[in-house]
Amino acid sequence: MVNVEDLRKEAKRILKEGKVKYVIGYERGQNGLMPKPAFIKDPEDVDRLIWNPTCVHNLTKFLVDEKKRKAGEKKPDERPVGIVVKGCDSRAIIVLLQEKYINREDVHILGISCEQTGVIDEKKLANKLKGKKAENIELDEKGNFVISVQGGTIKVPAEELLAERCLECRANYPVVYDLLLGDKTKKKVEEPFKSLEKMESLSEKERWAFWTEQLAKCIRCYACRSVCPMCYCDECVVDTINFAVTADTTASEKAGKIKWVEKSPVPSENFVYHMVRAMHLAGRCIDCGECERVCPLDIPLRFLNKKLEKEAKELFGYDAGFDPDEPSLVSSFKDEDPEDFIR
């Protein structure tokens, strides 16, 4: 069992001893049950930290932020930052380490095991609540979520509330950490790619129709990109101007910037954006599901990344985010790599 007091104690210690600059964790949100990211600098504030099945966010994006912020400072504080991670989030750290985007000493990892559950899906919860306001949510011994609402409780089997990714999770406890809270009990997942079956059974024509309809909804707010810890490029193909501009960049270099994607939110451009993102995440996505969670128009983006995760597994036996010493999929070559799909 995870005791949040252990987390607070460790956070307090590392802050007090000056081992970290600040700790990134979860705190109670203003907005009903859902928490929000917390940035704790003062050891006296550690009681703000919480841990429960609503802690959905993958906070590792803030490590990318930290690196970018530091790059702009003349005399940056070189101490690491503390960060609370779940199993999936810890795998994002592994990918960032593999790609040498961050160093191990940049981060003090407070790992928490999801043990036998995972995190809840806010939309599934809303559908169960039918307008009622949830005050608390806990897991009982029988694997049910017990939701406290005004004037009573609602009991729901965990599978009905868990985020889709948690139902297919292959790493329910952190794979890299400085402190681990909770048991390393492996949750049994027999069909890690079950959610893809329905999509895979569709014909090419049907899939085209499905994605045309879905991606037509996209308003290009780029929340899926913004929340993704793997989307750390200084310059993204969809940005309208070149962020790599310096005082030395010539006018013709600026004028010669290739426009890969138009800003118009029309199906062709939306397809390019989402395809480019999906391809750039192949062998890197650790299925934290954040892209799909944040989409304000409910585009099922996880399908795209899950499919590529499956391809990486089936074609190359590659699982992203488990071994920091293994080279990343796209930067390595093995003799036994298949090549029959190269035409």
Partner: protein, 346 residues
């Protein structure tokens, strides 16, 4: 002009309006959006709040300014592309969203009238629906000089009285729509008017979220330009465009040429939504960015809505719809930010 319309007669009314393009809320899995009504029977006003406001109908995310090409003699040829005549009715407009259009009117009107915006605005009739219960837990219209039964910006306001609607037509266009189906509307009885007033009064009490003393915010903001407050508040911001793209009052845009062919030259000049939350919004071609970080961009969003707009137009540029709160992936809550601004410093 006040009337009563039986709920079951709504499709018959819509049938009489077939010369118009009609939009109404429709549910797509978990979200509501405004969709074209093809069969009048499908119209259903039992909805909550739409993902995007009707702003997307008046000020679409993509607008073609003009088409251009060069003829055989290399002479430029520009073809104007003003929106077509297409009289439109939007059913189920929430009072906050209608009020929001009165604010974008200020921006696209004034000394320079934006022909694209006004072409769509002038041919669109807004049929509102009062919010008897708040359609979102994050509604706070009362705090920003709005109300759940505000008539501002609407042509007709419907209020749900159980099996009928209380219909208030507020403009010439509103009266026109009623006259197209005169036999469906009956005069209200004394009891109906009473019910209406009661429901409106109760609906105000049901709004839980509020910003107290918002009046203190604009002057306070003036002294907070350099404050480290913004760094703290923006720590969790992801720099996505959700808060501004979902906002019914945000109106910033970008203009780009989309070139379809270089020889011969053909293309279109396009206006698309843009947002102050994207780093490239303020990026200069020199490589200098005057709003280089998340803190300065959050500051811009708050200052624009609660200081600059107030100074320029004597209105808050926010109607309390709550979309930015509901949809922020990291729980940044504009009410919380404004509360902190009001109480900030001495």
């Amino acid at each position: 002009m006040d009337k009563i319309l039986l709920k079951k007669a709504l499709p018959q009314w819509v049938k009489k309006l077939q010369t118009y393009r009609i939009y109404a809320p429709a549910k797509d899995e978990d979200i509501w959006t405004y969709e074209a009504v093809n069969t009048p029977e499908d119209i259903d006003l039992e909805f909550l709040i739409t993902a995007l406001s009707p702003k997307k109908i008046i000020f679409p995310q993509r607008e073609v300014y003009f088409e251009f090409n060069k003829d055989d003699n290399d002479n430029p040829d520009i073809k104007e592309t003003i929106p077509e005549d297409e009289p439109t009715i939007v059913f189920g407009v929430r009072p906050c969203d209608a009020k929001a259009l009165t604010l974008t009117d200020l921006v696209f009107g004034g000394d320079f009238e934006d022909v694209y915006y006004w072409k769509r605005r002038n041919q669109t009739i807004l049929v509102g629906l009062a919010c008897n219960t708040p359609p979102s837990t994050n509604c706070f219209c009362l705090s920003v000089e709005g109300s759940p039964h505000s008539k501002e910006g609407l042509d007709i306001l419907l209020t749900d009285l159980g099996d009928k609607y209380y219909v208030e037509s507020l403009t010439k266009n509103g009266v026109k729509l009623l006259n197209l189906a005169k036999n469906l509307f009956t005069p209200p009885k004394a009891g109906d008017k009473k019910d209406l007033q009661k429901i409106h009064a109760e609906s105000e009490k049901k709004i839980k979220k509020q910003i107290k003393n918002l009046k203190k915010v604009p002057p306070k903001l003036k002294g907070m330009w350099d404050s480290s407050f913004w760094d703290e508040e923006a720590m969790s911001c992801l720099r996505c465009g959700i808060c501004t793209y979902m906002c019914p009052t945000c109106h910033c845009f970008d203009i780009n040429d989309e070139v379809h062919s270089h020889t011969p030259l053909t293309g279109k000049r396009i206006r698309t939504w843009d947002t102050c939350q994207f780093p490239d919004f303020t990026m200069h071609s020199s490589g200098h960015n005057p709003r280089p970080d998340k803190a300065s961009r959050l500051r811009q969003r708050i200052m624009h809505k609660f200081q600059y707009f107030v100074e320029r137009y004597q209105n808050y540029q926010c109607t309390g719809c709550g979309r930015c709160i509901t949809n922020c992936p990291v729980g940044i809550d504009i009410i919380e930010v404004l509360d902190k601004v009001r109480d900030y410093g001495p």
